[in-house]
């Protein structure tokens, strides 16, 4: 997928009189932008308002989207709340994503390389299984998986959120697609020079696969920030709880104020928005790449 192409308009230049169409399109685009921005700007506006009373009065009016006051009071309260250790949650989430993605990159690409350039006759079957497994929704396996991890004694830990998700058929498949397109001459030449299979993987193929590494990392990052069902079941207290579950728990507490809830939401969303803005080009390519599997 050439991501540059996606970023450039390819329009059939149908010139119309007075450009009525362009005006209509612009209007439609503005409507879409408003629909997207209203909920997000409400989150930010409410989070900046220190007065809960004032928030409740303004919640359904225009003042809910345009900040009148800018105060970091709610943020201070959220970050200092002894019962909701936000920084701990952030650390937990980052640790989980870092370990899952970091080890996953090596383990999945290694398997993919063996499938693309190994010698075993098992490889065709293996690939078939990998592609067949795409179909199984992860959610369906949570209950037996819960039994597996509780037998391992992993409930309420970091590894229970990391280890089951390191190997991913989807990223093996993405790496495989990339490796199988490598020119045979490169691999053969390295073999002639006496390089072992592992060396070819580690010194040649792996360093070349940066686009796939970027894609897999971005999707892994998104997954970690969105994960909810699994950590909800396997974490008990605040110690290993990730952001998603913490957000829901905080929202569910009776005495929580909207201002603090929204400050928590902004703090949770900020890191991923920053990552998105920095890697937007890769992000678009990886979403499209992830969509075109099968």
């Amino acid at each position: 997928m050439n991501d540059k192409a996606i970023l450039k308009p390819k329009t059939a230049r149908v010139r119309l009189p007075f450009n009525v169409h362009k005006a209509l399109r612009t209007f439609a685009a503005v409507v879409v932008l408003l629909c997207v921005l209203i909920p997000l700007s409400m989150m930010v506006t409410v989070s900046l308002n220190p007065s809960e009373e004032n928030i409740l009065i303004n919640m359904g009016t225009i003042h809910a989207f345009i900040p009148q006051v800018v105060s970091l009071q709610n943020y201070k309260e959220v970050l200092q709340d002894p019962y909701q250790p936000f920084l701990r949650y952030l650390f937990n989430t980052l640790l989980v994503v870092f370990c899952t993605v970091g080890t996953g990159i090596f383990i999945n690409s290694a398997a993919a390389f063996a499938l693309a350039w190994g010698n075993g006759g098992y490889r065709k079957i293996y690939l078939m299984i990998i592609i067949a497994v795409f179909v199984i929704p992860g959610e369906a396996l949570t209950i037996p998986l819960l039994l597996v991890v509780s037998k391992l004694g992993w409930i309420d830990s970091y590894q229970v959120q990391i280890v089951p998700f390191i190997a991913s058929t989807f990223s093996i498949f993405l790496f495989y697609q990339f490796f199988s397109k490598l020119p045979q001459e490169i691999i053969e030449a390295a073999r002639m020079d006496g390089a072992r299979l592992f060396q070819i993987y580690f010194r040649i193929a792996f360093p070349l696969s940066t686009p796939v590494i970027a894609t897999v990392s971005i999707l892994g990052f998104l997954d970690a920030w969105n994960s909810y069902l699994w950590p909800l079941m396997v974490t008990r207290g605040t110690e290993f709880r990730p952001l998603g579950v913490a957000m829901a728990a905080f929202f569910g507490t009776q005495q929580a104020y909207w201002g603090n809830i929204m400050a928590f939401a902004v703090l949770m969303t900020l890191p991923i928005i920053i990552v998105f803005l920095v890697f937007q080009k890769y992000f678009v390519a990886s979403v499209v790449g992830s969509g075109v599997k099968g």
Binding site: T11, M59, E139, A140, I143, S150, Y201, F251, V292
Partner: protein, 308 residues
Amino acid sequence: MQNQPKLASQTGTKTRRSSHTTQEWLDELLLIAPASILLFTFLILPFFMAGYLSFTDERLVPRPIPTEFVGLQNYIAVMKDPEFWQAFRNTAWFALLVVPFQCAISLACALLLNSELPFRSLFRSVSLLPLVTPMTVIAVIWAALYRIPDGFMNNILHLFGMEGYIDWLGDSKFAMPAIVLLSAWATFPFQMLIFLAGLQDIPMERYEAAKIDGAGPWQMFRYVTLPGLRNTNIFILIITTLQAFKLFTQVDILTHGGPLGSTNTLVRYMVQEGYTAQQVGYASAVAVVFVILVGAFAILQRVLLKNE
């Protein structure tokens, strides 16, 4: 869309050395083993466990009584449980509402993005924001928008002269549509990007030919764009439906499956039975039914796309 994967080392000429040393086999084992062990333990094993456990009365916490084989009892119980059918209907209803709604929005936005706009790149960046916002955060934001009696959604309706208010999340008539609205908002950019990629694969020549034939914008869309998107359409319909089947997070946070079970979904029902009620055997039967449903859909996708 290849169903016979070609192996890179088998392509090209057949001048491969056939003498593979032990060293090379060891290397290959070293490369493939870690992923294989993990996949087996956390994917293949749970998959077969679900099948096996669904015929037993296994519980989450070990009991003094050993686990017994109960045959089809779980499946019969699932089929008899009105709560399961309610969850099934709700999930289907959600899919039926969200799929056309979300696909229409995504396609419209993709067409906008693919045309000349004065602020295209801004439009693209902003419209992707919901996709990177975590679902838990989105649920919380929409809880505020749906507030009664004077939240944003109700006040909009007041502008149009509505009396009273709609209890969006507390009224069983409106709870599912409310979930549909926020779900569409949350994930439409994903389909939009895939539509966009599909639009850009349509050769320009077709548009130019249509223009020479004197086609207007609507005819262009009807006779060039839509046929050109045929594969993309099928793919997006399937993937959006599969996404809809997995509905859980939004519902769990906003309505807890209520009111009166009107937003309980298959995944939530399964978690309820397997985790909250600890009936692993029973929940495994639900999981098997769920996998069969999703699998049937995926096979449908294969069949539809193979006809190309």
